[in-house]
Symmetry: C3
Subunit: 156 residues, 3 copies
């Protein structure tokens, strides 16, 4: 019996591509499952060809930071797929924590993190709708413009 | 059979009023339930008549930020009540994450967040006692002085 | 029947000592259990003889901040032991959130938090490997250099 993965097909049909699973930047795991929860580590907007770095909005524009937020969603889903076998096993995106590398007079963190939230709804439909924290921080690992972690609810 | 809501009565008897459920500031939900956990999004200290904004303690005093922390608790409980029907279904406040819009030489974040923690104990008694994170951040959405999220344990 | 605590013996054999359970700095609990999860409050790198305080790396070096991260792991495990009776009841470290009191041009937060992550693996082996968030923040309670919270999976 083959495992279905309609969500992966949906991602493709939307024109997105799941990247290779990124290596953790440090001595931790990309995700840990406990019961029906999959806790994903904070992901950064880095792909082999590009790193989205710098303070928003002075060094990195809101638009570029939004692209970064989408990159993180895709690399987090790559992590979940490697763990679960199929993204169809995700029954609900429970929560998303978004940290924006932020100038102290920048207040539009929700605009940046909306790009991630919207993408999750685009991909999963209603089960992609989640609780959320969005905050601005003074510095992120490797000068990333955004870091996003998630808790997913998954099938038994 | 009517659903009891002794906690809502307690809130009233303490002289507090639950506000209208605030609209999320972005494309996310105010809360998501998974199993016996209700994950509440980060709430801001905004009411229709007032917004508590600015850096603590240079723009906003500790005392005003504490009022803000209490406003957030009330709007988070309004969210929980809308979701659960009755606040009596909350069996335990599990954790609270408090982010304070903080000057870099301000170290009294616990004083600000204590206002939220104390209010939860005042309302719920022992089940209101929770694990907590309190940190200072360089900027918050819409220049809010404080953002608070919570995980609640709820009845089946 | 005595409760085993091989993990506590392992900690001793590694030359570490669990400190006294620290008092919470505010009106909250050191930890709350819900189902099979133990949520630990954010801990600070303070012992009676010493406090590791100040911005990394300008006031506090990466090396000292790493010592601080290890101190927090030990005081978090002291909290867990007081709650559970035995650290053998921990079946998995699920997630760790590390906040570094960070200069705005410091990008090596993972180096600081790795000290905590490595120590957990040293103590627990594979079940010590966890999902992780590491971010830099502009200020921490009592000017601590690092704050770390954790979610642990525990036996029934």
């Amino acid at each position: 019996m083959n495992m279905t993965d309609e969500i992966s097909q949906k991602i493709e049909s939307l024109g997105y591509t799941l990247p290779q699973v990124p290596a953790p930047i440090g001595s931790y795991l990309n995700c840990v499952r406990t019961g029906n929860q999959l806790h994903l580590s904070g992901g950064l907007p880095f792909v082999p060809e590009d790193k989205i770095q710098g303070v928003v909005p002075t060094v990195t524009s809101v638009e570029v930071a939004q692209m970064g937020a989408k990159l993180v969603v895709l690399n987090r889903l790559a992590v979940a797929k490697a763990e679960l076998g199929s993204l169809d096993k995700i029954t609900q995106v429970v929560s998303l924590s978004g940290f924006v590398n932020s100038a102290s007079d920048f207040y539009d963190h929700p605009l940046v993190i909306n790009a991630a939230s919207d993408m999750l709804v685009e991909i999963f439909g209603d089960p992609g709708r989640h609780a959320r924290i969005a905050v601005g921080v003074s510095a992120l690992p490797l000068n990333a413009s955004v870091e996003i972690s998630m808790i997913l609810e998954v099938e038994d």
